[in-house]
């Protein structure tokens, strides 16, 4: 076996080794970055739970407009939850709605639990259309946080329909 053949055999091994080393470094760096990133992902969490049935109710745009006039934290009150990202929420949301980003729900839900447990209606929305974050949040509230399913509702038409209909919008930081 001459030097050329040896070199030809060595080449794929070196390439594979380089690729392996590179992958290892990239994985280590990404895991470290994710651990310290404020909006890092929980690697074990199912962000897209399978909604086998519809355990929550639905509200239409007309209903959402009516219910939004009775938003309150008192026992038996109505709470609106915005399942979108905080930055999107701050850019404009239904007046009185609370932010509860589905992907960061572990930061928001524990603090909201006293209100959510006492609410007669929890109306959850995201952008509408193909957005499913409100459905996932509703699912998680029922199955992970034991919120009674009778009080959980999804406003499927979402914020885009609300805005398109010309209803008032509140801007600013989270409540």
């Amino acid at each position: 076996m001459d030097a050329t053949q040896l070199a030809a055999m060595k080449l794929p091994c070196t390439l594979f080794g380089e690729a392996l080393l590179f992958s290892f470094i990239a994985l280590a760096l990404s895991l470290t970055a994710n651990a310290v990133h404020p909006t890092g992902l929980d690697l074990s969490r199912d962000y897209f739970p399978t909604v086998l049935e519809n355990p929550y109710g639905k509200v239409s745009l007309a209903d959402a407009v009516e219910y939004s006039q009775y938003i309150g934290d008192e026992v038996g009150g109505i709470t609106f939850l915005d399942a979108r990202k905080l930055s999107t929420y701050e850019a404009g949301h239904i007046p009185g709605a609370r932010t509860c980003d589905h992907y960061q729900q572990e930061k928001y839900v524990p603090g909201l639990l006293p209100v959510l447990k006492n609410a007669a209606m929890i109306i959850i929305y995201c952008n509408g259309g193909t957005c499913e974050d409100s459905l996932f949040l509703a699912n998680d509230l029922i199955y992970q946080y034991d919120i009674p399913h009778e009080s959980v509702f999804v406003f499927e038409e979402g914020f885009n329909a609300w805005r398109a209909a010309g209803h008032p919008i509140q801007k600013g930081p989270k409540e």
């Binding site: 390439l15 690729a19 990239a26 962000y47």
Partner: protein, 165 residues
């Protein structure tokens, strides 16, 4: 003959340098546009349905790891450190996602009843909603450039050869 050889070699050198700059910068830009919003990228790759959601670990690790892999690949290709390995890994993922984009384009054509050249959606590439045929051309060019970066650039191929008369 010697002059033509030197000219060819210079042309090859120029193409390699261009490929390296193009691939390196493209991966850097694509990676940086996704790093800050792992949840957005997670949603994007979930829509492709190419990774299992059960257990969720694989989908989540892809959303966390791929943007960093792109940034590191860009840096490696530009700096030359682990260039071939980085280009190989980045090229494999690029090829995989390009195929996934094609697959999803067919699904969009089917559901919306539109022609291929009218298909546009957010491919999760960090650039928002894009016209897909244009994105595919970009990806193929990038794939070609990445492929060039996986080659061994030895002194005999990278330096102009001197031929004695």
């Amino acid at each position: 003959m010697a002059r033509r050889g030197a000219s060819n070699s210079e042309g090859t050198q120029g193409m390699k340098l261009f490929a390296r700059l193009y691939a390196g910068l493209a991966f850097l830009l694509m990676g940086f546009s996704k790093i800050g919003t792992p949840d957005v990228f997670l949603k994007s790759i979930h829509t492709y349905e190419i990774l299992p959601t059960e257990p969720p670990f694989w989908l989540n690790i892809a959303a966390v790891g791929l943007p960093w892999m792109e940034v590191l690949a860009g840096m490696a290709i530009l700096s030359g450190i682990l260039r071939r390995g980085a280009a190989t890994v980045a090229g494999l993922f690029l090829a995989l996602f390009t195929l996934a984009i094609v697959w999803r384009s067919f699904a969009v054509m089917d559901t919306e009843g539109i022609a291929f050249f009218d298909v546009a959606f957010d491919c999760g590439c960090g650039s928002g909603v894009v016209v897909i045929w244009q994105k595919l051309i970009q990806n193929i060019l990038l794939l070609f450039a990445t492929l060039l970066c996986t080659k061994t650039w030895t002194a005999s191929t990278s330096a102009p050869q001197i031929t004695r008369p």
